[in-house]
Symmetry: C2
Subunit: 326 residues, 2 copies
Amino acid sequence: MAVVDADGKLHSAWGDIDRPIFPRSAVKVLQALPLVESGAAERYGLSDEELALACASHGGEARHTAAAASMLAKAGVDPAALECGTHWPYYDGAIKAMAAAGGQPTALNNNCSGKHAGFVCLGCLMSEDRAGGQDRRAFLKGYVKPEHPVMREVTAALQATTGYDLARAAVGTDGCSIPTYAIPLRHLAHAFARVGTGTGLRAGHATAALRLRQAVARAPHMVAGTGRFDTRVMQHFGERVFCKVGAEGVYCAALPTLGLGVAVKMDDGNTARACEVVMAALLARLLPLAGDDAAFVQPLADVALVNWNGIEVGRLRAAGALSPTR
Amino acid sequence: MAVVDADGKLHSAWGDIDRPIFPRSAVKVLQALPLVESGAAERYGLSDEELALACASHGGEARHTAAAASMLAKAGVDPAALECGTHWPYYDGAIKAMAAAGGQPTALNNNCSGKHAGFVCLGCLMSEDRAGGQDRRAFLKGYVKPEHPVMREVTAALQATTGYDLARAAVGTDGCSIPTYAIPLRHLAHAFARVGTGTGLRAGHATAALRLRQAVARAPHMVAGTGRFDTRVMQHFGERVFCKVGAEGVYCAALPTLGLGVAVKMDDGNTARACEVVMAALLARLLPLAGDDAAFVQPLADVALVNWNGIEVGRLRAAGALSPTR
């Protein structure tokens, strides 16, 4: 894991921070910058909730799918424009509610539907700006492909913020079908320090980053969902912390008051165990936590594992260099 | 991972096979030996399906919960005797069916309910055998505790088959509240070689092991469930393979025709990814696979990862020493 300031200076590091890893959904806020910088968010009157959803890996709860549908409607298209694919909601309560109602999931339930709705809004604006106002649906088709004008903008934002040459990076296809690039933790942490401060970003990206962070701070339930770590942390800290999980054990965070960015990759590939505990321990160490803040973070950094009978069978807590008592 | 014969001779090994690991549910067949050896299985007329369920981490499907309830009824107790705790079914279809019916899970849905029903049957027989026929429910209470007569028998079977001194082993409390002991892969593989051959086991354990393996071979849908690796493999191979997954990336297997036992621990802790591919690759290497067998195993040892749009985004396949082409 790497902690880096906005000038790229290393604050602290554990493990190999120069080996490229796939950040997956942890960089959604970077991928949402063109949505705001382009003017699409303003043009279509996207709300805080909707902008937060554009940065989200959401649980597919009713408020999430409604916001994704609303973003699309504001841009004048329907959910058929989404190319993220369909899966059952991530949130357990949403699965059971859908099954109880005899329902079936749509692309709106995909945890990436907000990010994709953002891409579609960007694409709609781009098609409007083209001579004669090209047909939206025709222009949007294939927006997930690396060579599509929408994805070129998204990739350019990723490259500009991380400062990493994506043309030479390993590239895969993500769960939602957009390209995912392998980027070292050092560069990811640097990008988040920039996003948290605006330092080192072009004006359009700096303004967009601030707008997106504010939106998430105002609507943290949209970025993840009921009971989820990111939602809980940002409900508590507001603009003092922006954090985002990514598949296979990735966490990225911006700590604007400290001017630091954080990037974590856990080798176990689990997004909801050591990864969260490490993020909580980093918050406890890096931020000057006292009182309510400390009381909030402490149980996230020292988590009881209870079995099906409610018996505590173990604990997950930060040790060694990350130990709170060190 | 370790491959060992029934005399304890190492066939092959990768990684540290002498470091104790928690085998979790992978050793359920060893823990079920006293159920058969004691005569409880015969006394209560347990079927193949029910004996297979005693070795299972099942999906909580209707046929699984019905068999667990039947085991308890045959021993004259009801599901309230189970001390495994309650969770929603593991099988996705069972979750949705239960939610659609407005149902709630019971201890019968716990993936360990068959193992626990076996413990309860053993306990019922033990209480009958005691002077005057002690009250069953009173005797059963706390059967999950290490000091209870039932669990002492179960632990003794684990020690006898693995040949590992459990009194000196690290011990934790499992998800279903019974003790779980840390045992090296070398000893686990040896235990499964013994279970597959009977060699090195006392007569009662050898007979019980054969009975349980036959039961699972006849009712492989009971040991896991719809679409699951263990069920599919044993549906295909019958008595030629006994394999069982355990939490946190453990696999144990007996290959009776070769006289070998296998124990695998994947550091990623994931039970349904590399772990299964490694087991499939081991089957392909160790067994003389051809024709239908090879055609069955090959796709399990080289698995396409497809995203939510059905696009292949990667593959999981055995490499290096486990590569099928080596």
